[in-house]
């Protein structure tokens, strides 16, 4: 994707979000004018959650911005490409967990790593960690859902993500072997 094209796409997405917000506000105004007795509970709940979010979101954004600038794609690829085994998996989780951008940013990195010969299981763990074990997410989860909930979900996620990585690696290896046999037999 060209930079200009990407920018235009992002702009379009922003416009769409603001439009959605406009529609949402219209719905609220209509609903509250039909049920005026609901105005108090709706506004007080919204206000409470707004304050909760505003005291942490700017800080979270700053932390993410710093990491995005200081840790480049190249650093990630360099460190993940050459380690394997338990160390590789641990590193994949740690790097995935760093406070950086959304998941689709990680796809090209994963593709580069695969081309460089990194293990499929590590790539899956890396992508999954990137998607759902990010440090800023854990902080916000801690704040809103409590320590017990956050830590338990974190531990379970790490365990299951590793299992998933191993399963997917097995399936892909197995299907590749199948393909090769097909080629030998001349089926392909």
């Amino acid at each position: 994707m060209k930079p200009g094209e990407k920018q235009a796409k992002q702009k379009k997405k922003m416009m769409r979000d603001w439009l959605f917000l406009g529609i949402t506000i219209v719905i609220v105004v209509v609903l509250l004018s039909v049920f005026p007795e609901k105005t108090e509970p709706v506004t007080s709940t919204a206000q409470e959650y707004f304050i909760e979010m505003m005291v942490i979101l700017p800080a979270v954004m700053i932390i993410m911005g710093l990491f995005a600038v200081y840790i480049s794609d190249k650093t990630v690829v360099k460190h993940l490409g050459k380690t394997s085994g338990i160390k590789g998996i641990a590193l994949a989780i740690l790097i995935g967990a760093l406070p950086t951008g959304p998941l689709y940013v990680a796809f090209p990195m994963a593709a580069t790593l695969l081309k460089k010969g990194a293990r499929v299981s590590n790539i899956i763990v890396f992508l999954s960690a990137w998607a759902c074990i990010k440090i800023p997410q854990e902080m916000v989860e801690f704040r809103f859902l409590g320590a017990e909930f956050m830590f338990l979900r974190l531990i379970l996620t790490v365990v299951f993500v590793i299992i998933m990585g191993i399963i997917i690696e097995k399936i892909i290896k197995w299907s590749k072997r199948g393909n090769k046999m097909d080629v030998k037999r001349g089926v392909n």
């Binding site: 911005g65 796809f107 299951f160 299992i163």
Partner: protein
């Protein structure tokens, strides 16, 4: 201000000061990036906040707990898991939303299923994932993620 907010803000300020001491240009670049992402997220923040207000103000807790509460069973969990997989809201904003439905009667299992499928599975980004990583890997990752998300949710429901 609560303790978590103070710690997060403290880390942000400390990291920012360190960045400015080390390399001013990079620090400014990070701040710009942070500002941009914040503005980009802002309309979604307002939408979520309004949605939470409406949800807690209009939908009685009995309704919420009937669909995704303790007694709703596996069906409710699967339903909210699918909703999480289809929705496209930033993970950071899913937690206040999850907290609000938990507050009004949803079960721990349902909330865990929602957050986990929401963060792990991206239906909107799936075409891009297929294009970059191949059909097999992308479909396997998203498919198995759904299964483990539901498993994680049920284990959490049993423990908490």
């Amino acid at each position: 201000m609560n303790i978590t907010a103070i710690i997060i803000n403290g880390i942000a300020v400390a990291a920012l000061i360190l960045a400015f001491i080390k390399d001013k240009d990079k620090a400014v670049q990070s701040l710009k990036m942070a500002g941009k992402s914040f503005i980009k997220m802002l309309p979604m923040v307002f939408i979520i906040i309004i949605a939470i207000g409406l949800l807690l103000g209009f939908v009685p807790p009995e309704q919420i707990s009937r669909f995704v509460g303790e007694q709703s069973g596996a069906g409710g969990v699967l339903l909210i898991g699918v909703a999480g997989a289809l929705m496209h809201i930033p993970a950071l904003l899913s937690f206040p939303l999850a907290a609000s439905i938990l507050e009004s009667g949803a079960s721990v299992t349902a909330v865990a299923a929602f957050i986990t499928t929401l963060t792990m599975i991206g239906m909107i980004t799936l075409p891009l994932e297929i294009k970059i990583l191949g059909k097999k890997m992308a479909l396997l990752r998203n498919g198995i993620s759904f299964v483990i998300a539901i498993l994680i949710a049920f284990i959490m429901g049993v423990i908490l």
